[in-house]
């Protein structure tokens, strides 16, 4: 089944991604840790920009939660299902990850020992390691007072560029993933279609013309009736009615009525003709073709009026 396949495709890279994120975080923590022992007691890795970092972490948590809450119901209509285990993992992991980003910033602040003016007791002097004098009499390099040889501004520029690159990479990965799952962000239910009224009218006219062409031909009446219904479907879609793969003719018409496009009694009449032509072996003749043509003209004029009224 299609969505089961989707579920399998979704599940496969999950552990790899999680492992990758943990590994990157671990390496970053090792690289960014202050000099000294591996687990320094409360010196804090954020320095004087700690408040900014913590604020960013909190802002990120809140923004991510709001975006997820806003988009989830819109993606839900695609019916992408998770297995019970995956669903449980998602329910546990989502709040933990979001809360974790805020918690890291908070803990960094809480564990940081702010200098209060009282000089801290100096650490026990470490006997210097004897350094052999240079043979050529060149001066020794200065000791690094800040624990890092990089000046502050370029460091932040590098970090900013790295953050921008990460954001772009994540955005590209998300878009590619959505495309692979054949998903796109659905329109907000309350928003109008992005197509202009002129585009809609052109699409509608084109659909109706294709139906008329099918009816004008001297071919099979059954094929003409089916083509006529297909033209009505296209016309409804051009007018903004959503068409789903699991729709029956009745579903599409119900959605058209729900969208305020009531194509009158002609639409059910044409749908009934279509059902007979498509799913029965009844002989179809010129009377069926004419009935379909009348219905299509009626629908076209109604939809045209509706477009004009917009």
């Amino acid at each position: 089944m299609e969505h089961a396949g989707r579920a399998r495709r979704r599940a496969a890279p999950g552990p790899v991604v999680a492992f990758g994120v943990v590994a990157v975080l671990a390496v970053a923590a090792l690289l960014l840790r202050p000099p000294g022992e591996l687990l320094p007691a409360g010196r804090g890795p954020l320095g004087e920009w700690g408040i900014v970092a913590i604020g960013s972490a909190l802002a990120w948590s809140i923004a991510a939660a709001r975006i997820v809450r806003h988009l989830r119901p819109r993606f839900h209509s695609y019916g992408v299902t998770l297995s019970p285990g995956e669903e449980r993992l998602r329910e546990i992991a989502a709040p933990l990850l979001l809360a974790g980003t805020g918690a890291v910033g908070f803990l960094a602040l809480a564990m940081h020992r702010f200098s209060s003016g009282d000089p801290e007791p100096a650490p026990a002097p470490v006997p210097p390691t004897p350094v052999p004098p240079p043979a050529d009499g060149a001066p020794l390099p200065d000791a690094d007072p800040g624990g890092s040889g990089l000046p502050t501004l370029p460091l932040y520029l590098v970090l900013g560029v790295a953050a921008a690159v990460v954001v772009v990479l994540v955005a590209v990965a998300v878009v590619r993933r959505l495309r692979r799952l054949e998903l796109r962000v659905p329109h907000h239910p309350g928003l109008a279609s992005p197509a202009t009224g002129e585009d809609d009218a052109r699409l509608l006219l084109s659909a109706v013309r294709s139906g008329r062409r099918a009816l004008a031909g001297a071919g099979d009446a059954r094929a003409a009736v089916i083509a006529c219904y297909a033209a009505m479907e296209d016309a409804l879609v051009a007018s903004g009615v959503e068409r789903r793969a699991s729709d029956s003719p009745a579903d599409l018409l119900a959605r058209a009525v729900g969208a305020g496009l009531a194509p009158g009694p002609a639409a059910p009449r044409l749908a009934a003709l279509f059902r007979e032509a498509r799913f029965s072996s009844h002989p179809m003749d010129a009377a069926h073709r004419e009935a379909a043509a009348d219905a299509l003209e009626e629908i076209a004029s109604l939809l045209g009026d509706a477009e004009g009224a917009r």
């Binding site: 089944m1 019970p84 793969a245 029965s280």
Partner: protein, 333 residues
Amino acid sequence: MTTDPTPRLRTAEQVGEEAGAVLREMGRAVVGKQDALELVMLGVLAGGHVLVEDLPGLGKTLLARSFATTLGLDFRRIQFTPDLLPSDVTGTPLYDRRTGEMVFHPGPVFTHLLLADEINRTPPKTQAALLEAMAESQVTVDGETRPLADPFLVIATANPVEYEGTYSLPEAQLDRFQLRVRMGYLTAGEERAMLRARIDRAAPEAVLDRLAGPADVVAWRAVVERVEIDDDLLEYAVALVGATRDHPQIGIGASPRGGLALVQLARARAVLDGRDYVVPEDVKSLAVPALAHRVSLRPELWVREVSTDDVLREIVDSVRTPTTRRTAAAVSS
């Protein structure tokens, strides 16, 4: 309406009108349950048995009795209890002192319409005796096989909320019911209309007219057998059944018998609508009642109160219906 024992040959349109008249007549007694009545009528037309599952007091017994009255069917009722024996259902041979022979006394299963009330209150042995009769339309007692009446229809009721002293039907036995119907509560307006109707008629129950007979039901079923179904719709039914086997939340999917039931019910719906061909709406609208009771959810979903109906609805919303134009394979064949 014809009730003669030698019924004339009917068209699907005629049967649709006759069955519609029966439904309208029953609507006088069973208020606001048109969907449930239609589903049970589909079971009657398709030649299957119906499980009505819902809370007490929602009119399950009234529904079964109304069908028996309007269809002119011989009606028997068994109140299933923990001490009911298989012979209480099928019948038993008793010694006749005058003739000195063992004479078979038929049980309540020898009828046209049997109401098996609260079938989940009796032990599996007695349930199995009834379900065997349902599957084979015959009863074997003391080595002698006796055919049941034609038509033979079982409407079984089950109360899903009581667990103390009940014996849930296993999946294999649920599979023998062609469809499961849920009654549901009435809306406020319907409930008010029901109370008003009771006051106006000054009697506990409405007296219904008989509009058909057993021979009519047999003739209706013959019309259902002549309903055609396109290959694309058979593929659609197969896709729906297959989807229940692949769904991650379902442990045991629908059986091939489920597919047969779905197609037969879709043909019955076509007849009820006056058509002799099946359309996608027939299959789609019956997927939940025909398949939901045949699947088992994974155990971890039991505590989350996810119902099989919900999962089936999700499947119906995700499986592709036949395309507007015929596929190339269908056209070439």
